[in-house]
């Protein structure tokens, strides 16, 4: 019997009991949708956790530290020699009191960075260029907007929080900072008397503005200076602001990061670095541990969801058993004419398969609709009833393709299993009893 004919035969049989078939499909739909929705919460939590971890870091980034002592130039050279390493960035915080332009000032971090390796690692500019000479600097994207005039004393008196914020905004710097000259203020301390030494200043020119951070809530107002400028700053106030600058044989760094070309290389490179007795931290390492926990969590949710599918499968089993019982005489006639048990089994398996397929299809569609609706409505509900803003990009339900595939496999598997026994029962119908109408 051809598949096309089986399909036609099954369809005509299903049409005869539309209500019963549709009720069974409805049960499968709800079971499948419940499974996907429940697991989607687990997937959403996992995704949020991953997004949270990756918020400030890059996947191909490995932070390297030494157990004893600071990372130095020798270490950097060693790291650069490791295969598959794209760049090794090194930063060191420079002493700073404040940075000003006219009446505007900002308290910020000033970092010396090795610009060529930063560029290799993927540091990008929104405007301008990388520093080419000592007194050239690059500033973060939000640097200009956080430059502000010093507010007068008690300016907020009698003002609401909103009005005070508005007033503060009026005091902030407006205009383009590129190619403007900033004053870099330094304060030192006398190493013997511990008293403040007179303030020293340096003039620096903004030649580049860093790219806007991908995450909207991240504000980058830092200043990147060249190694040469850093050395000058140290010569003026010392590393700790004491004015003394003990000569060091090797240059040290506060932060050393290794970048690989691809995320796949992170593990191999991390292993090599650890073998060289360095301590490493990479997002991949953190994610690996996190993934084990979340995989178990999601598996648990899928297991609970599968119970709903199992309950729906009882409906399919019942429907198919009824169908076999009702059609026993037809089965007997078919067998008498020459239908093989295999053909009969396949016809009934196809019927339960179609019920399952409809249930899975509609269930998946329903789950997607509910998932999108929940994600759309959740921030509104939080805002309306809790008077708070839901976190940016927050998802209550997330259905990746993998979850859809898992759910479809489980639902179809359970459906076919529940249709198996009635189909097998159909093959055992006694021809003589059926012909005598004794079944």
């Amino acid at each position: 019997m051809r598949f096309k004919d089986k399909h036609r035969f099954v369809r005509s049989n299903m049409k005869k009991n539309k209500t019963r078939v549709w009720m069974t499909i409805l049960a499968s739909t709800i079971g499948c949708a419940f499974l996907i929705m429940l697991a989607s919460v687990g997937f959403a939590v996992h995704k949020s956790a991953i997004d949270n971890v990756m918020e400030f870091r890059m996947v191909n980034e490995i932070t390297v530290n030494k157990e004893n002592g600071e990372m130095n130039e020798k270490d950097v050279k060693k790291l650069e020699k490791i295969g598959k390493v794209k760049a090794v960035t090194r930063k060191k915080s420079a002493p700073v009191d404040r940075v000003t332009i006219g009446d505007y000032q900002i308290m910020t971090n000033v970092m010396s960075a090795h610009m060529p390796s930063e560029k290799k690692a993927g540091f990008e500019l929104a405007k301008g260029r990388m520093p080419a000479s000592k007194n050239e600097v690059v500033v973060g994207y939000q640097f200009a907007q956080e430059l502000s005039k010093t507010p007068p004393k008690d300016f907020a008196n009698g003002l609401s929080e909103e009005e005070a914020q508005k007033k503060l905004k009026e005091l902030s710097y407006k205009g383009d900072i590129l190619n403007k000259t900033l004053t870099y203020h330094l304060k030192g301390k006398d190493s013997e008397t511990q008293s403040n030494t007179p303030e020293k200043t340096l003039e620096v020119k903004v030649v580049g503005i860093g790219k806007k951070p991908v995450k909207e809530w991240i504000s980058d107002n830092s200043v990147f200076i060249t190694d040469d400028l850093y050395n000058e700053v140290i010569s003026l106030v010392g590393e700790d602001g004491s004015g003394t600058n003990p000569a060091k044989e090797v240059k040290t760094y506060d932060e050393v990061k290794v970048y690989t070309a691809t995320a796949e290389d992170v593990k191999a490179v991390t292993d090599k670095i650890e073998k060289m007795d360095y301590q490493t931290y990479s997002i991949i390492k953190e994610l690996k541990e996190m993934n084990v926990y979340f995989t178990l969590f999601k598996a648990g949710l899928i297991l609970i969801g599968a119970i709903a599918v199992l309950i729906a499968s009882i409906g399919i089993f019942n429907t198919m058993t009824m169908a076999v019982t009702e059609r026993s005489q037809d089965i007997g006639i078919m067998k008498a004419i020459g239908a093989t048990p295999k053909t009969i089994k396949r016809i009934f398996l196809l019927e339960s398969g179609y019920i399952g397929l409809w249930g899975v299809g509609l269930g998946t569609l329903l789950a997607y609709i509910v998932s999108y609706s929940v994600n759309f409505a959740f921030p509104i509900i939080v805002e309306q009833f809790m008077h708070e803003k839901a976190p940016e990009g927050f998802m209550l339900s997330y259905i990746p393709w993998s979850l859809t595939v898992i759910a479809v496999t489980i639902c179809m598997g359970v459906t076919l299993l529940s249709g198996w026994r009635p189909a097998a029962k159909a093959t055992t119908v006694d021809v003589l009893k059926a012909l005598r109408r004794d079944v």
């Binding site: 078919m334 020459g338 093989t340």
Partner: protein, 234 residues
């Protein structure tokens, strides 16, 4: 065409382990040549239907052997039996045994569907067969919408659709009036004469048996074989 040798059969009645064994057929030997019409007659409960069921493969013999159309069928698996029935046997039942949810056309077409024949060929052959049995205008009718005679003609059309060399008929006229009975018997004779189809008929009706070339009788499970038609009539 049919060769039954030393066939015995007993029903097991009752609970498993505590069954009563009721012997039905004893040492049956029956040989039917190709193109022959053989009538098996006997009283109710004599075992004639059991013999037909054994030859049809609906029940399996424990003792003896059955050979049909040159194939040793006793001992075939259920699947092999089904395939054999589809390709070699046609059935005419007393109560027609049509599938009520299928139209006359679909009932006749069904063996072709089981054999996996293409839709176009099926349509041609089914329409031709329905015309042959005079049911062309009733193609779309369900069995419940047809008279007994018409239903039996659908049943015959279904039995003939795959051109089987052997047709097994169990009380073929049992549910028909005398007019339809005559018509059916004429049709059977015609099929036998024109196409050489072999018929094995179970009947208790002497008029039905009268069209057979040979008549065998089963008395209390024993076959009285070999009497030619003229002997039986005398």
């Amino acid at each position: 065409m049919i060769s039954v040798e030393n066939l015995s059969y007993a029903f097991k009645i009752g609970k498993k382990g505590k069954e009563n064994i009721v012997p039905v057929l004893h040492d049956i030997n029956l040989h039917v040549a190709q193109g022959e019409i053989v009538a098996v007659v006997g009283r109710s409960g004599s075992g004639k239907s059991t013999l037909l069921n054994l030859i049809s493969g609906f029940i399996q013999p424990e003792v003896g052997s059955i050979q049909l159309n040159g194939t040793q069928v006793s001992g075939l698996s259920e699947s092999k039996w089904a395939e054999f029935r589809l390709n070699n046997l046609g059935f005419i039942f007393q109560s027609f045994q049509l599938i009520p949810s299928m139209t006359a056309y679909e009932n006749v077409e069904f063996p072709l569907v089981l054999q996996g024949i293409g839709e176009k060929e099926r349509k041609e052959r089914t329409s031709e067969m329905l015309k042959r049995v005079g049911l062309d205008p009733y193609q779309a009718h369900y069995p419940g919408e047809l008279s007994g005679g018409q239903q039996q003609r659908v049943s015959i059309a279904r039995a003939l659709i795959l051109n089987p060399p052997l047709i097994l008929a169990d009380e073929p006229t049992g549910s028909l009036d005398s007019e339809n009975e005559k018509e059916l018997l004429t049709f059977i004779k015609e099929l036998n004469r024109k196409f050489g189809i072999t018929f094995l008929m179970i009947t208790h009706d002497h008029e039905v048996a009268s069209i057979a070339h040979r008549k065998v009788e089963i008395i209390d499970g024993y076959l009285q074989e070999g009497r030619k038609l003229h002997e039986v009539q005398r």
